[in-house]
Amino acid sequence: MSGSTQGHFVSQLKRHYSLYTGGFIGFVVMLAILEQMGVPNVMLGYIFLGATVLLYAGIGILSRTSDVAEYYVAGRRVPALFNGMATAADWMSAASFIGLAGTLYLSGYDGLAFVLGWTGGFCLVALLLAPYLRKFGQFTIPDFLGARYGGNLPRSIGVFAAILCSFTYVIAQIYGVGLIVSRFTGLEFGVGVFVGLGSILLCSFLGGMRAVTWTQVAQYVILIVAYMIPVIWLSVKHTGNPVPQVAYGYVLEKVTAREQALNDPVTPDGAREAEVRAIFTQKQETAEARLKTLATGGDVWLAEEKGRVIRAAAELKVRPGADSAAVAAADRAVAEFPADVAAARAAWKKAADAAKAKAAPIPAHAEPFIGQNEAESDNKRKNFLALVLCLMVGTAALPHILTRFYTTPSVGEARQSVFWSLLFITLLYITVPALAVLAKYDVYTLLVGSSFSELPSWVSAWAAVDKTLMSVTDINMDGIVQLAEITMGGDLIMLATPEISGLPYVVTALVAAGGLAAALSTADGLLLTIANALSHDVYFKMVDPHASTARRLMISKGLLLVVAVSAAYVTSLKPGDILLLVGVAFSLAASAFFPALVLGVFWKRANKAGAVVGMVGGLGVCMYYMYTTYPFFGVNAPLWWGINPISGGIFGMAAGFAGVIVGSLLTASPDKEMQELVDHVRYPNPKGDIKTGAA
């Protein structure tokens, strides 16, 4: 393509997307007016989600294509800036958009591992992979493994690993889609999953990477606007400064002072907290005592205990002037009494743990690695750093991100495009910790100490929607809210921010649309990666290399449909929790791809045997460790060096690097052709260069 047509294309894109952004803001304003006119909230939610989903489908239809390069890599003419936006949307998932603020709210400094990991990984992408993959210029990541190491074996392992980690990750995204659609429209979860899926398919089915790219740019605009508006508002409310990223340092100081006051029993607020905590300590002790007696007493004692609980409730009812709340609590204790020993053990263990957490002093938000003693704190530090490394390397190895850098016009633009990606991603990640602190300030100063008879409206509204997200119970019966009496789910922070800052419902709908955009854009990229690995790497490269273009695309689209429907089916079974799926996906990607990809570029001596050993070894070690240590699988083997299962990838990575190096050194050097390929990807345009780039 000549320079002037590309220049024309870029200016055209800029014009279209500026118009689009303006139009989107106009749409939000229009809905705000509708809200003032009295249109009900549910209706606004429907219009908002419906309009955005139609928009994505519309872009998909406009970008339909039957050209192979357009379908797989958007014609390799996506300018750096726009590829940056698309990558940012591709990258930021439902977990980032909705979950991260809550993680930071609940775990303070230690939660920053996610912020660091999910941004710092792009340094590795930029320095070690993106320009070289672009120079190589094929369609998929297994393509690179196949060409660099030769033969179908490295390619097949690559395909297997790409499908494994993308499928795990896509389930987490579709889960998020189902959650948002069901919460904001009232549809059932399963239905929500398939509605969301419909829009993903309409988009990627017709236009492949080309459609996904231009949709993702549109989705980035929506998700960043949706994140910024409520946070800026909250910042103005608490600091008078519309730049939350700058303003929240001083809010953090106030939060820290407030934490100290609440932890100090000498202050009036601290005394009330101490009172509630003492009640929780008592509950913890009761549960622990029961557990202890249960271990020796078994069935017989459990039956006796049940008798005692029933008698206590009966006695309470006949006592004159008994408190109605106490009677209700006693009745609940009877109704919820565990049926057998196993259930009792589980229920009381849970009760003891929950009470223990509530009875502990408030952890300081900004303090790193809080532990009861030095060893515990050191262990937290070790796990923090391991998680950061795992997430970074996983970032630099997830195939759906790496393929995006095949779509730029040149190596130079691939490098610039990583810069734009990271800049757009940082814009959100720099705001998330600010939101966590601002929300914490709101809760600690406005909610704590308020009276139960006049709770802020967002508290009662969300408590009515979902008890796990928000519940306040007057534990010490003083009519005033104490911090230990509040139970909050992490996802609430982002979802409730518009209401906490006192914004109209239309902003809540905007946040839902933003969350949906984040989940859909990531799911789009992942599904395409899986389908392309199957159609391009397995079918075209291994089964039928002479297949016609039309046939390749048909197979591709058919597989996309099959993969999407099976992913939606698995999701509707609600397997495990989102954080587990995300952790598994990152660790698997880090272990399987990173060593073979990086050494493939930087170490000429790396050969096929090494790559096979490294990839299989890395994947094997990582899967083994996660299978034996994640409580979900029920094996519960001891941890290696105290590293939590979510960071299991660091063992896989180590095994991967060791495997590639040892395997390569034990076998013959790669042949001249391979070495030339390495030279080819290293230099942007050397003399006598070989050609690997497909159209």
Partner: protein
């Protein structure tokens, strides 16, 4: 294709730049993280320093690292006239 002296120089410069930037990345992330508890008493814009680094400082450093790499390599490409032709 035999790699020329010019190409070896280009690659060596690239490696040196990459190594240097990776070192900055490593210090901003892992060294600061390792010593987070010891740096807790220092403050910056109202933040304790380790929190600031984790929530903002390191991120800005990453952006700078990636941006500088893109700019510097672009210049290096031109110096070595290795710039890819538009296709």
């Amino acid at each position: 294709m035999q790699s020329t002296e010019k190409q070896r120089q280009y690659w060596k410069k690239n490696l040196r730049l990459t190594g240097m930037l990776l070192a900055i990345w490593f210090v901003a992330t892992f060294v600061v993280g390792w010593f987070a508890r010891d740096l807790q008493s220092l403050t910056f814009l109202g933040f304790p320093l380790p929190f600031y680094m984790g929530a903002q400082g390191a991120l800005l450093i990453y952006v700078a690292v990636v941006g500088y790499y893109a700019w510097r390599m672009d210049r290096l490409d031109r110096e070595y006239a290795a710039q890819e032709g538009e296709r």
